[in-house]
Amino acid sequence: MSDGLMIEVANLTKRYAGRTAVSNISFTVARGEIVGLLGPNGAGKSTTMRILSCFLPATSGTARVAGFDIFHESDEVRRRIGYMPENNPLHPDMRVREYLKFRARLKGLSRVRTRERVDRVMEQFELTEVQKRIIGQLSKGFRQRVGLADSLVHEPELIILDEPTIGLDPNQIRSVRKLIKSLAQTHTVLISTHILPEAEMTCNRMVIMYEGSILAADTPDNLQRLMSGNSQIIAEIAAPAAELERCWAELPEVEHFDVAPVQGDYCRCALTPLDGVDLRPQIFAIARERGWSMRELTRSRHSLEDIYVQVTRREEEET
């Protein structure tokens, strides 16, 4: 076993009565990485996280966290992880400070250490001003921060967050993402989400899951490169549509094109080049040569959203 790995999952399978939630997945997470588990609802993300946090046993396969087996050394594992389940369950009848103190003591921190750490995380998550408030009366954003503060209070090596931004407003989402990013220097983070931009923005590496299996696992950039073979070029040029069409038809590198008039003299051309060709200099040269004025020339890079849709749809078609 190498020291650099925080999570090692090998051939993990989880079957509920009659249904396979996770089938034979393997992946690793290195120390200090932020990894996103990505997939549509019901892909097996939460189940994977529940197994890793020792709440559920796996049907078969093994997993190690920080070198400890999740089944046989679950106590050691639980000491080292901070886990925030989906929907962030909290005790609504407790006060913020009281709750964090309770959780810290439960996780085995000494009295002195508890006070230190509770103060520290409340500061970190800007909870100090609501420390005396009852959790049930807090807004969702604050409650989410209480949940995050709880998962961090014992300074775990690994933080597992199941859909940490679900149900928040855009500002709160941004601040939660910022918090997660700020954890990156000192912790390993595994987050699950079905929102792509989120994973794209926060994670070093993504694991795309679909119906219990892993479809792809790589950095966001690599995934993009993998899929960007047929990116589109968009050009808006002031010229007659017929002439533009003739022009694109003559270019051998253009696989497919589409010309549509927009306001004024301008036409919007969407061009699909052959694999790996960048058409932009050629288009610019043509426009200059013919004296057409051009107001836009962009390459639309496939966002991860497309990749995600592609990957998951491909799978659907096969089945």
Partner: protein, 250 residues
Amino acid sequence: MQAYLTLTRRELGSYFVSLTGYIIITAALFLLGFSFVDLLKQLQREPTPMPVTEMFYMTWFFWLILLVTTPVITMRLFALEKFTGTFETLMTAPVTDLQVVLAKFTAGMIFYLVMWMPLLGCVLLVRHFTSDPGAVDAGVLASTFLGIGLLGSLFISLGCFASAMTRSQVTAAVISLVFGSSLFLLAYMADQAQHQADWQSQVLACFNFFESMHDFARGVIDTRSVVLMCSLSLFFLFLTLRVVESRRWK
């Protein structure tokens, strides 16, 4: 140990920060008050050699309070946590299943005993107004409370077991009420059959909780009942532990 104490404190605290705890205590106090009105009326009618605690037990309000309050005390212990999902954060903290079960049982037990404290007040009140100092004896009072505690631990552990089995507090309360009443009826049958000699009646006679509790209220501590109630409580706690562990085998 630290986890156990922390959890017990939190469980106990939750009875008192919410209204439920006070409602249960008020309801118990109300019934207790009734039983003492009944008791004082009896005293007015004729003098009796019975100690006050025995007279209290003879009003049957004891069973009503026991049967009604224990399901309400225990129903939230596991069911609520499962329902809100905090069971997941609890079990993924470095605590053992045994610590969790014991902490919840302890908290339920302490609350149950606190609920019975007004009985002490009632008894002392009677003592204050009766001329006979022998009406209330410290030893008899202690054995009555021992009986209340032992039967309570049986019913609380039963309630823990019921609560651990479900996500719904109502279901938990109903299950423990049904089990609790079954025990009550078992005791009733045993009481009816106690003078018969066949072996079924002999076996049944072991579960005569009426007789045991009557003994405790009179100041008689029968080790057989102590052993029986302790072992039944342990049995139900063991079952609770198994139910909590069961998520690891599924």
